[in-house]
């Protein structure tokens, strides 16, 4: 009964994360954004999304009844879980970097090109890893 809402929430949270990180990657890369405020706002949403993804992901696994790690499916799940752990670890460094940059820059609206490049790379890498997770989820769902 609860499986469909949980799955829907999982997909929606992933859509928000992929969409938001892709927009920020492109915006910092092209120079369309020249301040840290939009990224800081998004980070609140990002971590809320991560929390939702984790509990709905575990809920999905409960509904599926995952086979052991010896099967192909189990191996793919193991890889996906390891990539998710890496994503969460990398993302916390990105957010803390953003917060420290914001503390240093204060209310200045003029971002240094080096910082813009770093943020663009960070959001680009996050978006790429998220897309990799989406592909693995597709493999797990449809073979």
């Amino acid at each position: 009964m609860a499986a469909l809402p949980i799955r829907t929430l999982h997909v929606l949270a992933m859509a928000v994360l992929v969409g938001g990180t892709t927009v920020l990657w492109y915006s910092y890369r092209s120079g369309a954004i020249a301040s840290l405020a939009p990224a800081k706002q998004f980070e609140w949403l990002f971590w809320g999304g991560v929390g939702v993804l984790v509990f709905t992901g575990v809920g999905n696994l409960g509904a599926l009844g995952p086979p052991g790690p010896g099967t192909d499916w189990g191996q793919t799940l193991l890889v996906k879980l390891l990539i998710v752990v890496a994503l969460v670890g990398g993302s916390v460094v990105r957010t803390l970097l953003l917060v420290q940059a914001s503390d240093r820059e204060g209310t200045s609206v003029d971002l240094s090109p080096a910082l813009r490049r770093t943020l663009s790379r960070a959001y680009g890498a996050t978006a790429a890893v998220l897309l990799g997770i989406v592909i693995l989820a597709e493999v797990l769902a449809h073979g």
């Binding site: 991560v50 670890g89 803390l96 003029d110």
Partner: protein, 192 residues
């Protein structure tokens, strides 16, 4: 009343974007760093548990006995406890100026309290209805609870210590990767 509203509107219209952002941040009950680290800690805690259960082949059995809504409730409760614990630590010590031992000590204390609170929360939900129906003896429950509180405090303390060390490492790594200020900034050349 209407004048007040008009004044407030005029004030907010004239407010600059950074001022508005700063005001919005101040009204939030937790900071972005607290929200980020608490969610990171919760997610990592659950993911490592799932990873270990899956690698040992016991994940299906573990999840089969867990109702989806109960699982969501337990996760949200754990998430809230992590947020409160991290908020308590950051309210007392600063990540960028306090020493590692001070932070680790506060993390251990917060972890112990959170561990006990987690156990008591589960106890309240799972055992109180059984006690009320008279299915279990109160003395036996109290004894189990006493031992459980001790174990939960120790486990919570160890988790709190490891998590606070990890948080400090992540904060330090972020500072290391932050580009130097002032280099390459595009500014107008000084006028002669």
């Amino acid at each position: 009343m209407a004048e007040d509203r008009h004044e407030r509107m005029t004030e907010s219209e004239t407010m600059t974007e950074p001022t508005r952002d700063a005001e919005r941040v101040e009204t939030r009950p937790v900071s972005l760093v607290t929200w980020t680290l608490a969610t990171f800690d919760t997610a990592l805690f659950v993911l490592l548990g799932v990873l270990a259960a899956h690698a040992s082949g016991g994940l299906a059995d573990l999840l089969a006995g867990l109702n989806t809504l109960v699982g969501v409730a337990v996760f949200c409760y754990l998430w809230a406890l992590f947020v409160l614990a991290v908020r308590w630590v950051h309210g007392r010590v600063s990540l960028d100026s306090a020493g590692v031992s001070t932070l680790a000590l506060h993390g251990t204390a917060a972890g112990s309290v959170a561990g006990v609170a987690f156990l008591l929360g589960l106890f309240a939900v799972a055992l109180v209805p059984t006690l009320q129906s008279g299915g279990v003896r109160l003395q036996a429950v109290l004894l189990v609870l006493l031992i459980g509180v001790g174990v939960a405090a120790v486990v919570g303390g160890v988790v709190g210590l490891l998590v606070s060390l990890l948080d400090i490492a992540m904060y330090g790594l972020a500072g290391y990767l932050l580009p130097e200020a002032g280099h390459e900034r595009v500014t107008e050349p000084p006028r002669q």
